[in-house]
Amino acid sequence: MATNSDRVADLVKRKYRHGFVTDIEQDTVPPGLSEDVIRMISNKKGEPEFLTEWRLKAYRHWLTMEEPTWAHVRYTPIDYQAISYYSSPKTTGTAPKSLEEVDPKLLETYDKLGIPLHERARLAGVAVDAVFDSVSVATTFKDKLAAAGVIFCSFSDAVKNHPELVQRYLGTVVPYRDNFFATLNSAVFTDGSFVYIPKGVRCPMELSTYFRINAAKTGQFERTLIIADEGSHVSYLEGCTAPMRDENQLHAAVVELVALDNAQIKYSTVQNWYPGDEQGRGGIYNFVTKRGDCRGANSKISWTQVETGSAITWKYPSCVLRGDNSVGEFYSVAVTNNYQQADTGTKMIHIGRNTRSTIISKGISAGHGQNSYRGLVKVLPTAHGARNYTQCDSLLLGDECGAHTFPYIESRNRSARVEHEATTSKISEDQLFYCRQRGLSEEDAVNLIVNGFCREVFKELPMEFAVEAQNLLNVSLEGAVG
């Protein structure tokens, strides 16, 4: 098999396609964190008093907290005083009023990433909010959405134009005391997306936020808040990329979803932060808190994630199933190649009667990658008739990677039914040979088999992105045959 591993070695030298840096003048605050820095961020954004105070409360609480160590990931300690907490392109100190005011270099950046913001070239049927480092630089289709009563804007705009909604819902799903990274985010978050879907409205198009880290030695701390009022529907997608750098960069985001009676939110993520190089140098530390609150009866929140990037992924998109008959879903594909580490999964908290949850997790490890599923299914005494089905499958490519499963089940209601199935398999030589005997190259055979393995998750993605996710997976695993 010597020739085989030589070929693999050649193929491993894959290229991260989004690793370029945009040369643009940026307004970046000096590294370090203090109450003054937080006041300055809040001041730069012209925030109301309540928000400044909320940030400071979070910061003071954060100072009393310790960084969690329970995740199955290893990294050199992060120096929080060495990070710059605010960076924005200079020309757009505040969000521009229209696309004409947006710096052409920024438009060009998003063009290169395949996310055209220009009127002519826009993605059909998808409204995009583009977040560049700490600020939102453009939001498309605002008018069309406004006609339907949908609010889709940057978080900063929401604070200015809809402070009552922000004040009412911010921190109600992920409180500022929630966890180390969420608390840090609450103190220093700079921008993100805000969505409000009014009663009975089915959002006329997919909403999407594209996050881009550009500046060096900065962290990205965005916050997304989506509120689906009674009987409304929305499908939302986020994508993320970053330049290739030798040092690690921190990304600590918070996403809060609120679904009121009969409302449905579908939240999809295609995460492709820079994963680091073949030796494990550089890459994004992705420490993210995502939680949805099925606050109303018969509401539904569905998370779909395809995690191919980041040096470290630490995220557990969760559902609090408060409303009776509410439904939570989590579909995940997580890929770790080279020296990537992922500790990801979900929490399903059953509170209401007849609440249902489904967890489908597909972990793929290659190279020296370490992939952990960590999930909690918790049924409270009030959750009569609660049901959960969990399926965790791990696929190993090669002998130097690892797959781990940490399922936690706490059921305090006897009428609840909780099912858990887990499998771990290696990609089979028989399958590879079968495909190659039909004329497929080894690479194509691996892609075919891995895509088949992920199919249950991919079919949950909006059409436009399912193909992208599949291609991304193929790129992530290039040369991973072992």
């Binding site: 399958q431 040979f433 495909c435 190659r436 005997q437 075919l448 088999i449 088949g452 992920c454």
Partner: protein
Amino acid sequence: MLTIENLHARVGDREILKGLSLHVPAGEVHAIMGPNGSGKSTLAQVLAGREDYEVTAGRVLYQGQDLLALPPEERARAGVFLAFQYPIEIPGVNNAYLLKTALNAQRQAHGLQPMDAFEFMKLIKTKMELVHAPKDFLSRNVNQGFSGGEKKRNEILQMLLLEPKLAVLDETDSGLDVDAMRIISHGVNSLRSADRSMLVVTHYERLLELIVPDRVHVLAGGRIVKSGDRELARELDQRGYDWLQTGAKA
């Protein structure tokens, strides 16, 4: 079409093929018969390029080129097809998708444009009729939940689609009832032509009543110990293999 000279192959320390020689001219169908463990499946796997088998001596010429020098996918694209004894399941992969990918990999190797979905559906439907494949054959996952007979029919369907120059059928009759065997034989016979050769590996004579071979070879102890016409198959059916194996050892 195919010339095998003094082929030796082993798995680990165990030598299975011990100097096998065979010549299959273009347009002919040859049957390989023999008792369990004689090396029939090993021969099929070695021809297809399975890496678990190490060829220690001998050579294999396919259309004049050194077959053993090619990786499995290049052999396949050059027209070598193996109908597996135990077809493999690929969860989550649509059967139609595998068929189309395989066809287009072959077309690409021959400098042809990939076939689009519309053309492909037209083509595959004509092939499906030949093996009486139900409609849902295409939408199901590759061999997943297929009965033994369906799996074999799926192998023959792939063969009809890819139209190989050299088809190796590894115990395609095992586990089939008479009706299924008739359907599959009909599919196989429809591919017989002057520029195509087949190597039919089987235990039993009954398949050879339906796919009538030009030559019959008996493989025992890793070598061809006897060759003849179809009458040899009938003789084996009556007398078994013991009388030949004794000869092989001597």
